[in-house]
Amino acid sequence: MNALLNTSLTGNDMLFLLKGAAGTLALTAIAVIAGSLIGVVLGVVRAERGWLLDRVLGGLCDVLRSVPLLIQLILFNSFVSLIGFPLSAFASGAIVLSLYMAVNCAELVKAGIASVPRMTRWASRSLGMTYACDLRYIVLPIGLRTVFPSWVGLSLAIMKDSALVSVLGFFELLKSSQTLITRTQEPLLLLLIVGAFYFALSFPIARLAARFERSTLR
């Protein structure tokens, strides 16, 4: 293979990249799961708990979506060192990404809840179901299903944004490739490998979600 591609990349290097890829996936998984859980709660609170709370929380969410993730990562990392509570690059990255996911997820959840027709909710309340039962058995199952494709898109975006955690020094995939590039001076090949990895994960999942969306247009 070396002769064919005329590269100085070794098996060890590929392992190194793989470790980076695992880091990317770990960050993504944590951010998506934690962010979604927080996001659902946040979205429900914003949709159901009065307009004042919605506005206040909305303002906070707005800030997190109007500042570049890069800046947020650096700012958060320096802040936690400041207060004497330094975190690893991975931890900082995971927290910031989770919050970013949560904030965007909350928007989706809010929209999903709003998409459930008022009459359907009246029907369930008329049966004597409490507000909580209505939310749990009717509103959330229907609303979350509606925004599922967007949620997939959001998760994929988080995976791509995980590359930014490299500026904090965390060895996710892109940073690992940078290390190899400085040694081998073969930027194109390594970047293509890295690009292929992201593409191979993102493209099929995005396509599946689009197909799911079309098929549930009952």
Partner: protein
Amino acid sequence: MIDIRAVQKSFGSLEVLKGIDITVQKGEVLSIIGASGSGKSTLLYCINGLQPIQGGSIHVDGIDVHAKSTNIDALRQKLGMVFQQWNCFPHLTVLENVALAPRVVLRKSKAEAQDLAARQLERVGLASKLNNYPSELSGGQQQRVAIARGLAMQPSYMLFDEVTSALDPELVGEVLDTMRMLAEDGMTMICVTHEIGFARDVSDRVAFFSQGIVEEIGPPEQVINAPEKERTRAFLNKVL
């Protein structure tokens, strides 16, 4: 008994109900007829607390519907409601639609709830559709699912809000037949309806609403066949 006293209801500055006094006894079938916008449906939503009222009171079996201390969820178990647009839960099968509330509200076991649901669905003639989704059924069938869903809670009273208005003409009959059967079984019913024939044949009393008040109320022989008030006559002439 449902006791409606001097009920007033406004949406902002628009007064929809201007003082309604009606008492519905157990076992009675009351039909409410009238033009659109006369407040008929709104009254039903006030009875089960979906809409607040600005004046008067509504008591169901002695409990004030709109009192802050009332447990409205518990009260709604006694009041079954069927809507114009049936509002079946799209993400559940027919059986699950009917079994959900008994399971979640009445705390029945899954088996018990499904058994109860199956019996109600058989009662309305949908025993063969238990595992279908509402989107696979016709409007008339979905409406009957909604009726079964309300019945599964074993309510004391059933409220019907123009349940045939959104149906194609050929599907109206099956729903009316179901309602007729319920009336014969002794269910207390308040039906807001445009089906004057149904109102005449099945009701014990008919109330004619006009512009937010009860213009005329009495047995169908009187209100429909020989109305006393001019407005009632005018309305019936238009629709019959």
